[in-house]
Assembly symmetry: C2
């Protein structure tokens, strides 16, 4: 069946934060380096988790219409400014804030990601389908060596996942039917929303996304077209 | 001055048809192969020129509002259907028409294009800014090995070049100022329109675009930020 799936699927689009890149480890490293350079001691892991923790609520303000369309770069910055105040670091200036905010453009890939994508690219169109904005995704691809054929962002639909408009974007822009496109993600809720729009689903759990010792996502009652441990196994299972 | 230009420019976006790929040679080869396979003799070079000749008038119908937003794939198909009737080839069926129309997804690059782009990619964000639709550009990149960091199309602005909205797309989506983006094109009119929106301009004439023995474009009175013979020289002049 998986060989058959590899024949019917033409394009793989990837969730990025957590699925392709290790946002938590990368952001903690950036914050720690910043702290060392500035002589600031703080709970940087907690800061990273709080920064990411502000992400879904901020997007929800956009989805609900409370905020007009706002890019992730700007949402990240709003959260950062609030956290710096909470951490009593309000004296940090504009250039440093901008540098910190752009840490999200410099996230590092999971160890299997680049090799797996290179292999998948030989057989499939590979692209992003991320809530990250285009500039962030393009910068990240250059930083991390991610060999995308196409960078697609919720920004192009002006709707954040899991709004259905975001999942309609890849088949529409690639000239494919929904069932010829597979979303690959580490997040069951993202995959469920993609499936409702007719996309195929590939689940690649990333148990370390939120740090060591966290319980895995509950996937009882979930259906995925494919499950793989990492992108190398994903390529194998799709015949790439 | 060019070294300085290489420092201030962050992204190069390329016109594609004629600038990166040899549409005429490629389309003639595809039509000739089709004719041989089907036992049809025709003036395939004339057919290719007439097909391309229908392109600007078809886009003008979209620009003027006579047609709603229509992708290049669909404009190419409208012109193809008309030409097949004119060439008394109306018996050609749907599958063959679709195959022929997708020849525009399989255009071959100029000999310097892939090597020049690979070199430019080391220093700059490189992308397309084409009137071709996204699916066409993504398929072409895979066919021709064009190593784009980002595929941008007039389709995303729903305005064909030279409408100003098309040129505003790359700075907007890449998070850059207009003057940090250079349009590279073989067509002075495209570059003039980009310049009016504040983009830098790189002129790479492609004297064989319309076939051998054609007079070069008149560039008297035109200003370009950079002129290069091909993408290798373009990379040299930009310090890449």
């Amino acid at each position: 069946m998986n060989g058959k799936l590899g024949d019917s699927v033409k394009a793989l689009v990837f969730d990025v934060f957590g699925t392709v890149v290790d946002w938590r480890g990368s952001i903690i490293r950036e914050l720690e380096a910043f702290g060392r350079a500035k002589g600031i001691a703080a709970d940087w892991a907690g800061f990273a988790d709080a920064w990411r923790g502000g992400y879904q609520p901020a997007m929800q303000r956009v989805r609900s219409g409370e905020l007009p369309w706002t890019r992730i770069d700007d949402l990240h910055r709003m959260i950062l400014d609030r956290l710096l105040a909470e951490y009593r670091l309000a004296g940090i200036g504009e250039a440093d804030r901008d540098h910190l905010n752009r840490a999200w453009h410099r996230l590092d890939p999971w160890p299997d990601a680049v090799a797996g994508l290179a292999r998948l690219k030989r057989r499939f169109i590979i692209g992003t389908l991320s809530n990250g904005n285009m500039a962030l995704l393009v910068d990240m691809a250059k930083h991390a060596g991610l060999p995308w054929d196409v960078v697609l962002s919720a920004e192009l639909a002006r709707h954040y996942k899991p709004d259905p408009e975001a999942y309609r974007l890849p088949p529409d822009l690639l000239g494919l039917s929904a069932s010829e496109v597979m979303l690959v993600a580490a997040h069951p809720s993202d995959l469920a929303a993609a499936s409702r729009e007719g996309l195929k689903t590939g689940y690649v759990p990333r148990p370390l996304e939120r740090g060591p010792g966290k319980p895995p996502d509950d996937i009882s009652g979930r259906h995925f077209d494919l499950v793989a441990e990492d992108f190398i196994q994903l390529a194998e299972r799709l015949g790439a």
